[in-house]
Symmetry: C2
Subunit: 448 residues, 2 copies
């Protein structure tokens, strides 16, 4: 009899898991339960459809439902799992009753943190997540005059730009002194904030949410610590929290972030239960601090790992160095590991190397500025973090590289002597990373 694997969740982690199981054990019986009507679309594209960069939601779908049928993966749509019994190796499924599993993979994802103020049940509050809802909300955006975005996290950034592009008078409120403060440095974000102001966005920092103010069941304003802001639409982009109620009720261990604790093979504390994606926490490669709420790419890779191991294969998921990048206003920002703000908050000492460089030869049409900040451990001068802002060219690829540079212990010396492509149309004589590392060496020398 084939081994039965049950997967809870149809996002990147769940589907990555399903593929992993099938690759390791083609005969396995794989069932995926999802509460939603769809799987295999790219939720990350939603803000760009709202912003008009992508013409329609249909393009975000990656594969039709038949593709999963063909792959032998049994996806049960709009089906909720209500309980896990790890001792009995069963889950309780609405409409199906008790379902036995040999292996269980928890890929229940994330929710937005509860804003924790009154008025949360008013109409007009939009949490960007599900594609069907996004299609409906897109029409609402088309009729919106004034919107408030609550918190400048990664999704908040994208929605601020999207709403501004759609001609909506957009207000951002955030309790921190600048945008994306949990990840990025203030000097990286300052040009982004300027570009939002150019688009007519109103920025309200050091401002906390106090109430969603309604009228006839619909939101009409947001009350904040610095005053009331009228709004037809409120986009709530509070931080991601792991959606772990089901696993916690089953006694599966969670860590300090609320994410499920997993080992390198994505195994949880319970027998034959694996987990992946935003439901878990993963150690940072340098600090070993648990991180939760990474990207779809991480979720997918973790799913593959969990699935491979659940299917009887062998695959390790290593600690993360977190390359990241995103458009922000008219710029693209990115980095790896952490920046100055986080290093300072964690009490991690560092030497800084900064450079303002260019993406092509100075004289080649389309050349863009790029600022690179590198952080190294004092003494060894090993890279520990990086942040960048630029016109867009090469930010993603440099972030990928810098994450690997951190993983492999490259130092300012190594990066200062690295070779680089020089060809006027695609790269400058001096690679900005090389210049930043060289400046970092001088900085280290100055500090003795």
């Amino acid at each position: 009899m084939p081994r039965k694997t049950v997967i809870i969740g149809g996002g990147a982690a769940g589907l990555g898991s399903a593929g992993g199981v099938k690759a390791a054990d083609p005969g396995a019986d794989v069932v995926v339960y999802t509460e939603y009507e769809d799987v295999a679309y790219s939720p990350c594209g939603i803000p760009y459809v709202h912003g008009g960069e992508i013409p329609d939601f249909e393009r975000l779908f990656l594969a039709g439902k038949q593709a999963y049928v063909d792959a032998g993966i049994d996806v049960r749509y709009e089906t909720t799992v209500t309980a896990i019994d790890t001792a009995a190796h069963t889950v309780t499924v609405e409409g199906e009753g008790t379902v036995r599993y040999d292996q269980l993979i928890v890929a229940t994802g994330w929710n937005y943190a509860d804003p924790g103020v009154s008025g949360g049940d008013l109409e007009g509050l939009y949490y960007v997540k599900n594609i069907r809802k996004a299609m409906e909300w897109d029409k609402v955006i088309g009729e919106t005059k004034r919107a408030v975005v609550v918190e400048a996290g990664p999704l908040g950034l994208e929605m601020v730009t999207a709403l501004a592009h759609r001609g909506v008078e957009t207000h951002l409120i955030d309790p921190n002194p600048y945008a994306l403060a949990m990840m990025a440095d203030p000097d990286i974000m300052a040009p982004v904030e300027d570009s939002w102001r150019e688009l007519g966005v109103h920025l309200h920092f050091n401002t906390t949410l106090e109430e969603f103010v309604g009228e006839g069941g619909r939101v009409r304003a947001v009350r904040t610590s610095t005053g009331e802001l009228p709004a037809d639409l409120v986009v709530i982009s509070t931080h991601k929290t792991p959606n772990n109620a089901l696993a916690e009720a089953a006694g599966i261990k969670v860590g300090s972030t609320g994410g499920l604790i997993v080992d390198e093979r994505m195994k949880t504390s319970a027998p034959d239960v694996w987990a992946a994606g935003d439901a878990v926490e993963i150690p940072h490669g340098l600090t070993r601090t648990p991180l939760q709420g990474l990207t779809g790419s991480h979720a997918y890779a973790q799913g593959k790992t969990a699935g491979t191991n659940a299917g009887g294969g062998e695959r390790a998921y290593r600690a993360v160095y977190v390359p990241w990048g995103t458009p922000a206003g008219k710029w693209v920002i990115g980095g790896a590991s952490f920046g100055e703000a986080t290093a300072t908050a964690l009490g991690i000492p560092y030497v800084l190397g900064v450079a303002e460089g260019i993406s092509r030869a100075r004289y080649y049409p389309g050349v863009q500025k790029i600022k690179v900040k590198l952080l190294a451990e004092p003494g060894s001068l090993r890279l520990i973090g990086a942040q960048m802002i630029g016109g867009g060219e090469g930010i993603k690829e440099r972030a990928d590289f810098l994450a690997q540079a951190i993983r492999f212990g490259m130092t300012f010396h190594d990066l200062s002597t690295m070779e680089n492509v020089y060809s006027p149309a695609i790269g400058a004589l001096n690679e900005p990373i090389v210049v930043a590392a060289t400046n970092g060496l001088a900085e280290a020398k100055k500090k003795g």
Copy 2:
């Protein structure tokens, strides 16, 4: 009395050297001799002015002559050095006589290899190199109906595209079966060749040059092993050879490529004589094979190293892994170390990992294809080479990264598990390098 450093050559290596000396020893007396009227322009930009991508030659100048005066660097223009006496520590300079040095830096650069056929003294043969000549030849190109480009090396590639963009009927002849055969793999070049054909370029491979055919002192055709090609203009892009007559006459040791032999500090065999740039040979980081004729970026970095050491400082120039990249037809190609063709020619065994990926999310406007080929050492699966072709996005940055990956001994396992940025506008869920490495692991497994 300040120490006197004489530098022969005003290109990237020569000026990099001058800066290196001044940084290490600000009081040094630094004299640069150049045969040309200018220094500090970007010769690499010339084909792009010819092609119309860059509007004028003036933009290629990096700094005025005053910048060198201000930096305390004494540049002697249009001045030829005719001899070196390493025992006496002197050089003979036209118009100056015998000039003493404490330290000498040879940065005499390269020449095109002599095509070695008759008719080489006809008018209408263009060797792309000097900017003043380029300004004159640009007018000639404007009046040219039919051109032949001799050899599809890096400069030949750029000139073929440039001439086609200018509406010239362009013929390429090359003795190899495909373009850029000394560096690139045939499957990387096939789409480039197709894109040239779309531009109307006529490609003549497996074709050797036999004679420049003249009439009244001007070229009117090129005779080849496969027939005669009429031409008003011939662009000669034979391979680079080191311009070392002066150094060889002085008894300074040259290696198997004809390049000067230098140690890690860029020191030649002669006392107090250093060398940098296209005049030297540098070992390949993996094979230790000497390489000659690298890029302006290499020349500049080598110059900095030679100058720093000549000035009493300490700086090493390491073996090279040669990231490279260039526009080619409508594509951008690039890589690091070597590809399949070179590995095969050198008898180096390899396991291949290939992927056809994308530069952004599949549904994001502007998404480009990118093909990545990775070569690893069988057994260890350490990366030893890479080649790529794509629309342009991220080729340069990936080449830089892959050269460092080779230098640091990263394996298919390491690259297969590397994290990558996922953000629809700037990066796909699956980084093509990761997919190529993963496919390489499967390939290695299949081969046992």
